[in-house]
Symmetry: C2
Subunit: 224 residues, 2 copies
DNA sequence: CCTTATTTTGTACGTTTGTTCAATTTAAAA
DNA sequence: TTTTAAATTGAACAAACGTACAAAATAAGG
């Protein structure tokens, strides 16, 4: 479902361990630099420098700049999507789903990965925000994000049969945008509020926010 | 409060009417092109072509590319901020404020301008989203957006005395991010939902979403 | 009308960009 | 060990970028 939108050319030999390591370094560096400057302001040369390799190696492992961005985004997308689907399935065994539970199953897996998986996941959140905001990445979003999103939207519709698919999708987009705001615009919040709090606390607070918002807008919805 | 962060050089003559017209054309074109491609992918040459003038004229009226972006954002910021403050003041006369009313006073003025003020306001929403998402524009946001935002956050704190300033600011940021999502990522929603609806309908739905979310997260908040 | 500040034109400069390619080194496969 | 596919190097390319500047055209102020 994920490896087939830009396949490698056919190989006659297995890649060396060093080659695999460099490929990882390149993708890590690209992830970091893309998240730092955005797609356009990021340069292949800075990515190369960050990875400690030659510029041509970035092209060799990542393809064109645009292909490289696709690869970086797609690399973590499967992992995260699977964790979300799993969380939803697990949650089903513990009784009927609530809005709060649905939102939590979508949000929590990222939090877990971000807290245990290192800085890469934090950079990744910024990339997701870029993809979600820029129509230029519409196809990428369609492939990497939409299938999982659709599962959760469907779950919302099942919970609010009177609500329209459109309203559920809208509420879901609002929720995700709030999540991305939490992850990417801490500087904005610190400018408006004072004290700090842990990431986990803010997550729980956000889940409440979104669950209540979804409940209100989907309960009120006429269902056209 | 708004014209003094990048002043013009002192003039000995009033600008001609043609000059003012071209300046407007340049700012309009810049607004359009910035919103189309983002700051980095936008080029001074495309802005010039869009405005139908020479490249050097864009520099002459807008300054450097970065200064030009500041001018474009600041141009509508005052107008919109004033409308929001006015809406809040007007609303006070009609009885005590509710969360729903506070959110509506912040959201509605933009809707009104977008529906009557032409395509520029739609492009402007994308610029606001860029400024809000990119730390590079922190100072710009601080000058153009924060004062008004602070007023609304304070209003929330007044309504929920037990809630912390931090929680109120977070809820406000979530709400604004959802508003920007509504205005800038219609393509994402259409991918997940089916039927369409009017902008005004979606606005009212979003106000419900945010009001309920704010109420839930600010009522639950311990108030540290 | 005359003066000259300002606006507009046209062009050019130096830099950085993404991408390409031949040569060299490395290591998988036989 | 030999072969050779793959990885890596280093350099170069044309194109596009933001910016600067002198010359020409325009119009405000007196």
């Amino acid at each position: 479902m994920q490896q087939d939108f830009l396949q490698e050319k056919q190989r006659k030999r297995a890649p060396s361990q060093r080659a695999l390591a460099t490929r990882s370094k390149v993708l890590d560096a690209a992830e970091l630099v893309f998240s730092r400057h955005g797609f356009d302001a990021a340069s292949m040369r800075e990515i190369a420098q960050e990875a400690g390799v030659q510029v041509a190696l970035v092209t060799h492992h990542g393809g064109s700049k645009e292909e490289l961005f696709w690869r970086v985004v797609a690399r973590r997308a499967n992992d995260l999507s699977q964790a979300r689907i799993d969380a939803l399935e697990m949650r089903r065994f513990r009784g009927p789903l609530t809005v709060h539970a649905i939102v939590e199953c979508f949000f929590a897996p990222y939090l877990e990965k971000a807290e245990t998986g290192g800085a890469g996941w934090f950079a990744y959140a910024r990339l997701v925000a870029m993809v979600s905001a820029d129509p230029r990445w519409e196809d990428l979003a369609k492939i990497c994000f939409d299938p999982t999103a659709q599962v959760f939207v469907d779950e919302l519709v099942r919970l609010y049969p009177a609500a329209s698919q459109r309203a559920a999708a809208a509420g879901f987009v609002y929720s995700v945008s709030a999540l991305l705001a939490l992850l990417t615009t801490e500087w904005r919040m610190q400018a408006l509020g004072d004290a700090r709090s842990s990431l986990a606390e803010r997550f729980e607070e956000l889940v409440c926010f979104c669950a209540a918002g979804l409940d209100a807008s989907l309960s009120a919805d006429g269902g056209v």
